[in-house]
């Protein structure tokens, strides 16, 4: 269950301090060797078969309801977007040939001419308008409705699409890269949300919900340097062992969510390699800041110093990740604050903050389920062990996976103020903060309300001076990290296993899994 929008632009491998080089080692040690050997000349042809650990019969074709890797990859295989996030994190024109704004409030997107849908219908500005409007309005069920709520008007102007916002926002083009907002064919101003038609690299041949999808190369695809495979097959394989078996026996070429424990065995087989891509995705433990004892920042700080972050990265992620400093903004973000004072496991400091709160010991309960993230239950147990040395008695309440997001997360019954969560990370700082840290936001899982933070958030959105903007985002990260109510111990890498029969470009996007879902059009047969 992913939340909308995306991770990382401009991933910078050289940074220091809190990361202790873990992610940098990941990038240098795991990605580069593969890419130097596998960066062969691109060739056309072949079938690319992907085994994905998601997918169910209830999956919808409607992009407004997409939420997991299967539908995301399937969507990317058949659709194009206004703007693409390149592997280097930079924005690249796709259906929008160019875009500009004089004041940050009114944006003009020039629509590429000569592109057609699989049905043969030309892509027009009207289609783009209808595709955006699908996520707006009272009767929209789209999950990105809140994200696009700042849009007051979308209209076609010749071959241009003009988007008007209620307040200036320099990050609007990033919004248009959201995987929920593909360009769909429309009629009379309405898109057909349940069509398999699109203007993307592959034409759908068959789709069995929750089982498999087969697609053939779009012969009229407008990009000449993309979509190398003749055919794409997406298979839903929920069982981790079955997924691994399928890769080993050559039934599929790429799988996601590789269990760290099996990586050594897989590599020794010599048929596949592991790709471990650092991004902004992170795991965390939100605390309901409205509820005692979490309403006291001293208690929150005590808890933040009472867990061993490095041990969690090593054990829970099997080393495929990096230590995080309670900061939802990741190293792949533009304004990542790398100089922040790192929090290490320090029981004495935790005790100190407990005393500041007037306590000598503390009893808390953490509600965890592996639905939040794989390993959440173990992470809770580790947290509980390390917290004991600081005088914190943490009870680990293992709750059912089923119904986790509706009954536990966001503390709907007032009984689960301290739980586990995960976030896919966002391309721009504003999205992450607006989605989960702004006062009153639907997904503000810690119900955190910090006046200074909220003020900065609005200000930073329309600030044009790059240095000032950076300063504001640094201050916000400082606030979230040291006064916020979410413990974020680690950034998790995207870990996938790829058959040696497939080649990848040198740089793989840290923006979402599977090369930003675009492995289908960016990779090729070795």
């Amino acid at each position: 269950m992913n939340k909308p929008m995306m991770t990382g632009s401009a991933f910078a491998p050289s940074r220091r301090g809190v990361l202790k080089g873990a992610a940098a080692i990941g990038a240098a040690g795991l990605i580069l060797p593969h890419t130097t050997t596998s960066a062969t000349a691109q060739t056309r042809g072949g079938t690319f078969r992907i085994g994905i650990g998601h997918g169910s019969t209830t999956d919808s074709l409607d992009p407004g309801l997409w939420e997991h890797l299967y539908v995301q990859t399937f969507g990317q295989a058949r659709h194009n977007y206004l703007i693409e996030v390149g592997a280097d994190g930079q924005l690249k024109p796709e259906i929008a040939e160019s875009w500009s704004s004089a004041d940050g409030q009114t944006w003009v997107f020039a629509i590429r001419q000569g592109v057609s849908f699989h049905s043969g219908k030309a892509v027009t500005a009207a289609d783009v308008v209808a595709s955006i409007n699908h996520h707006r309005g009272d009767d929209s069920t789209s999950v990105v409705k809140p994200l696009l709520a700042a849009i007051t008007d979308v209209r076609a102007d010749g071959n241009n699409v003009v988007v008007t916002l209620e307040a200036p926002n320099g990050d609007l083009p990033y919004l248009m890269t959201d995987y929920h907002v593909p360009v769909l064919p429309s009629a009379d101003g309405k898109v057909d949300a349940n069509t398999t038609d699109g203007c993307g690299p592959y034409v759908v041949e068959s789709y069995e919900h929750g089982v498999q999808a087969t697609l053939n190369r779009n012969p009229n695809y407008w990009k000449s340097d993309r979509a190398w495979f003749d055919r794409i097959e997406l298979v839903s394989i929920l069982d981790p062992a079955a997924r691994l078996n399928a890769l080993i026996t050559g039934e599929v070429d790429l799988i996601d969510q590789v269990d760290p424990a099996t990586i050594g065995m897989l590599e020794s087989r010599g048929v596949a390699r592991i790709l471990s891509i650092p991004g902004n995705a992170h795991y965390g433990f939100p605390m309901d800041s409205r509820q005692a004892p979490y309403s006291d920042n001293n208690i929150r700080l005590a808890l933040k110093y009472a867990l061993d972050r490095q041990a969690m990265v090593d054990v829970i992620l099997g080393g495929h990740g990096a230590v995080a400093n309670d900061n939802p903004i990741g190293p792949a973000n533009r304004y990542f604050h790398a100089e922040m004072e790192a929090k290490t496991y320090d029981p004495d400091k935790a005790r100190y903050y407990l005393q500041q709160a007037g306590l000598t010991s503390l009893d808390v309960t953490i509600s965890v389920a592996d639905a939040a993230f794989s390993g959440a239950v173990d992470a809770g147990a580790m947290f509980s062990e390390t917290a004991r040395a600081a005088g914190i008695n943490m009870t680990v309440d293992r709750v059912p996976n089923d119904g986790y997001w509706s009954n536990v997360w966001l503390n709907p019954n007032g009984t689960t103020p301290f739980c586990a969560t995960y976030w896919g990370g966002r391309a721009v700082e504003d999205h992450m903060f607006t989605t989960a840290y702004a006062a009153g936001a639907d997904w503000n899982e810690s119900f955190w309300d910090n006046a200074r933070f909220n003020e900065l958030l609005v200000k930073a959105r329309s600030e044009i001076n790059e240095d000032l903007r950076r300063e504001m985002y640094h201050e916000m990260q400082q606030l979230v990290s040291f006064e916020g109510s979410t413990i974020i111990p680690m950034y998790n890498n995207y870990v996938m296993a790829l058959s040696n029969k497939i080649s990848t470009p040198e740089q793989i996007s840290s923006n979402w899994n599977f090369d930003g879902f675009r492995c289908v059009e960016r990779w090729w047969m070795a």
């Binding site: 919808s60 009272d138 409705k145 394989i237 079955a242 026996t249 039934e251």
Partner: protein, 311 residues
């Protein structure tokens, strides 16, 4: 008598449908919540609930569904708006195919093994067959499945997963589904084999068998001609039970071999709160159980002249 049994079966199905409906009502969360997942906001939830008709009271939804089901229309999936008949159709076919395949492998083998084990009671063969069958049934299904994958799939003999397309030929299908069918065979054989063996051994002590033996008949002929027909009723019953299990209880095997059957559909639907699909599949499972037990009753009546020609 058969008519009464069918009427009873239908009554039973009706009760089951009420229970199914009640049970799905008790699940935490609702479909709109599950569909939107972590992304649910009060606004989008309300809009989606309205669209899906989740705001109707429970009895109304039950009545609408039941009347639809009676006319063969299970309605549309609440989750993706596709007709449930379409959703179930292909998967029901897959499930029945796998069940029949497994039955075609296991029924003859367990009957033959059972008869031979009874014939050579307490011999090495009897002990080996019993030990082997009991060992296979004692392992959890997924373990048997993984062992088969390790031995037969990773060596390249058989595919580790099943991918059925509309273009798949019957031969390919048999080949691809061999491992799941073999797994199921190993799981169900013990039950049927031991029931066959026990039923025959039980009869071997009867006076008429003694008589046949005194007449100088060969042991094989005694078993096949005289003991087996009288042992059919319990054997038929245990075969019917195992067939019902093969249709309704193979979700683990489906998951391991990525087999698109009804079991996975059911699990999917439960975790997504797609109540309409859960109810339809549960009803099909219940119907399979009732129908197979009915069939077993009828067949054991037919094989027993005392019941057939009752005065």
């Amino acid at each position: 008598m058969i008519a009464t049994r069918i009427a009873l079966g239908i009554g039973l199905l009706f009760i089951v449908s009420v229970v199914i409906f009640g049970a799905t009502e008790l699940l935490p969360g609702d479909l709109a919540n599950e569909l939107l997942g972590q992304s649910a906001t009060p606004e989008t939830l309300a809009a989606l609930r309205e669209q899906l008709g989740l705001n109707d009271p429970a009895p109304v939804r039950y009545w609408n569904w039941l009347t639809g089901a009676l006319t063969g229309d299970f309605g549309v999936s609440m989750a993706n708006g596709r007709p449930i008949a379409d959703l179930i159709g292909a998967r029901l076919g897959n499930t029945v195919f796998l069940a029949l395949y497994a039955a075609a492998l296991s029924v003859p083998i367990s009957l033959i093994l059972g008869v031979l084990a009874a014939l050579w009671r307490n011999s090495i063969f009897d002990r080996a067959a019993n030990a082997g069958a009991l060992t296979a049934i004692s392992f959890p299904e997924f373990f048997v499945a993984y062992i088969l994958v390790l031995w037969l799939a990773q060596t390249g003999l058989f595919p580790s997963m099943v991918r059925i397309n509309p273009t798949t030929t019957f031969g390919d299908r048999l080949y691809m589904t061999f491992l799941p069918a073999l797994t199921l065979m190993l799981v169900v054989t013990a039950h049927m084999m031991r029931m066959t063996r026990a039923a025959i051994i039980n009869l071997m002590a009867s006076p008429y068998i003694e008589m046949a033996r005194l007449k100088g008949m060969s042991p094989l002929r005694i078993v096949l001609r005289h003991a087996l027909p009288n042992a059919l009723a319990p054997i038929i019953n245990v075969i019917a039970l195992n067939l019902a299990y093969l249709i309704t209880g193979v979700v683990v095997v489906e998951v391991v071999f990525v087999y698109p059957g009804l079991g996975q559909l059911m699990v999917d639907a439960v975790s997504n709160r797609d109540i309409a699909v859960v109810q339809a599949v549960a009803l099909i499972f219940a119907a399979a159980y009732v129908a197979l037990n009915l069939l077993a009753d009828v067949l054991s009546t037919i094989t027993n002249p005392r019941l057939m020609h009752r005065r």
